[in-house]
């Protein structure tokens, strides 16, 4: 258990953040959505939170999930595979 979470960036979020992943400090009660708002401000993400899906530890998760130390959180932009 650490006081950090790992964040994964994909597609346009990866381009805005200019990195594929990073470790950020975990404040008590931090949710996936509140962390996204901070990152959006820092990196000027073009996507609003309602446009992304959240995954925690490689599983889809609700946007209001409270993060725990050591979690790996990913913000998933609109997909375009196939």
């Amino acid at each position: 258990m650490t006081n950090q979470v790992e964040v994964l960036y994909f597609a346009m979020l990866q381009e805005s953040a200019r990195k594929t992943h990073e470790v950020v400090p975990l404040e008590p009660g931090l949710t996936a959505s509140s962390l996204y708002q901070k990152l959006k401000g820092a990196y000027d993400f073009s996507l609003e939170f309602h446009q992304v899906r959240v995954a925690i530890n490689d599983r889809f998760a609700p946007g209001d999930s409270v993060l725990k130390g050591g979690d790996r959180v990913a913000y998933i932009p609109p997909v375009s595979g196939g």
């Binding site: 994964l8 994909f10 597609a11 346009m12 990866q14 899906r53 995954a55 490689d58 599983r59 889809f60 990913a74 998933i76 932009p77 609109p78 997909v79 375009s80 595979g81 196939g82």
Partner: protein
């Protein structure tokens, strides 16, 4: 015969950076004496624009030409989601086999980005099941593509499914 497998479709799912080998994948389809319908779909990179970006003023010949697509994926979740889709389709349409191979990385015009093969007892289920798999992949699986044009421009494809 292993009766415990009768209601469980075999669903090999692969995410790969290498070119898709259609011949090897067709040869990998099992022989099932209870299956009369085989359907296959391939999504191929084409040279015209993606589904959302249009050039409303220009004629077709004026559109920038695609040089290649760059696919990226959230690999563990993409694999997992394709496995769930294959199982959902096999249950809904009583498919006996579902194979999905999705490529990522740089894929040139004319190359196959995704290949799906299914087996079922009757043809209607084979078509419906195969179509459900590709529709759901486009809707749900965390894979993204960026179009790179011959003029050097590039843009993310915003899929309307």
């Amino acid at each position: 015969m292993n009766h415990s497998n009768l209601n469980q479709a075999s669903c090999p799912i692969v995410l790969t950076p290498y070119p898709i080998d259609q011949v090897a994948l067709r040869q990998g389809v099992p022989l099932r004496h209870d299956c009369g319908g085989y359907a296959c779909f391939e999504g191929i990179v084409r040279s015209s624009l993606g589904s959302t970006q249009k050039n409303p003023l220009g004629r077709e010949g004026d559109e920038p030409k695609v040089d290649f697509l760059e696919y990226s994926a959230y690999e563990p979740l993409a694999l997992q989601e394709m496995e769930i889709i294959a199982q959902e389709a096999s249950m809904r349409y009583d498919l006996k086999y579902v194979q999905v191979t999705h490529r990522f990385g740089k894929i040139r015009v004319g190359e196959t980005a995704v290949m799906i093969q299914v087996l079922s007892k009757h043809r209607a289920e084979a078509f419906a099941g195969c179509q459900m798999v590709i529709d759901q992949i486009k809707r749900r699986v965390p894979i993204w593509k960026k179009e790179h044009f011959v003029n050097g421009d590039a843009q993310w494809v915003l899929c309307t499914h």
